[in-house]
């Protein structure tokens, strides 16, 4: 039952259960918004306010006790803001992709700025998708469809 051995689609369609999304954003309003958007698209949501907290929840941080895996809630998708103080969304993406356990988990990057070099950098590093903020219901529905295909 190691998440590293399960394929992408198997990870997403978890016995008909809702996919579990980890949403990372330093902005309080954006966290609330993305949480509602995801819940409206039938997803289970956990939010984190920075990269370090996200890594902890994924079981990749220094504090191994307080992560989602121990509570039995495997993460199927990570959606993160790019511009965050300290660890950026790009840094978080890299850490996830470097991890043997988490590298199969799709990572989506969000940003309010449409900068092609930034977008390419993230896609090259393995980001599944780039989304422009502010997020709309249609964007999240499309995301859900694409990742459940």
């Amino acid at each position: 039952m190691d998440s590293a051995s399960s394929s992408l689609s198997k990870g997403m369609i978890d016995d008909g259960n809702e996919p579990h999304v980890l949403a990372v954003d330093d902005n309080l309003i954006d966290r609330k918004l993305v949480e509602k958007l995801l819940k409206n698209s039938a997803c289970k949501v956990t939010t984190a306010e920075n990269g370090l907290r996200a890594l902890e929840l994924l079981g990749l941080g220094d504090d191994q006790k307080n992560n989602l895996k121990t509570s039995g809630s495997k993460v199927n998708l990570i959606i993160t803001d790019y511009c965050m103080p300290g660890m950026t969304g790009y840094d978080l993406l890299k850490k996830v992709k470097e991890s043997n356990v988490m590298k199969e988990v799709p990572v989506v990057i969000m940003s309010s700025e449409n900068i092609p070099t930034r977008i390419n950098k993230c896609l090259e590093e393995g980001a599944q998708m780039f989304m422009l903020k502010p997020l709309k219901q249609a964007d999240v529905k499309k995301l859900r469809c694409q990742l459940m295909a």
Binding site: I29, K36, N40, S112, K133
Partner: protein, 151 residues
């Protein structure tokens, strides 16, 4: 006041907020997200926005008041404010942040200070109008009416 009148006021007030650019399509997105499982979603998010914005505006006032202004910090705060105002559809607040960031880059204290005054003004305007909107909603519901759907 009877329900019909309140509903008309609500429609007019909402329409003018969009027409005058105080709100944009993103606010409609918020309204569409509200449902039976979360009937106060819009008020909740907007209240968070008010709290967060006031905090940021205080931080900005403090930061620009320093002898040696930390423009990186100022820019970071403006970035946050631009982001949250954009996310709730507070268009004029969002727009007032664009120039602000440019002046941060130029490290122009005077211009930044003027921008801050502008942002504060826009924030207070939209706050006032949104509070009126929510008050009208409450009055309609209290009078047994339903909130009109805006096209």
């Amino acid at each position: 006041m009877e329900v019909g009148q309140l509903q008309r006021q609500f429609v007019e007030h909402t329409a003018s907020m969009f027409h005058e650019g105080f709100l944009d399509g993103q606010f409609s997105q918020l309204q569409q997200l509200q449902d039976e499982s979360n009937p106060d979603f819009v008020v909740e998010v907007v209240s968070l926005f008010f709290q967060d914005s006031e905090r940021l505006l205080n931080e900005l006032t403090r930061a620009l008041d320093q002898k040696c202004v930390d423009f990186k910090k100022v820019d970071a705060h403006v970035h946050q404010l631009k982001g949250s105002s954009s996310s709730i559809g507070a268009q004029r607040v969002k727009n007032s942040c664009f120039n602000f960031r440019n002046f941060c880059e130029e490290q122009n204290t005077e211009a930044c200070f003027r921008c801050l005054q502008l942002v504060k003004q826009e924030y207070l305007l939209v706050k006032n109008k949104l509070e009126t909107l929510f008050r009208l909603e409450q009055q309609i519901l209290a009078a047994g009416g339903s909130i009109p759907m805006m096209e």
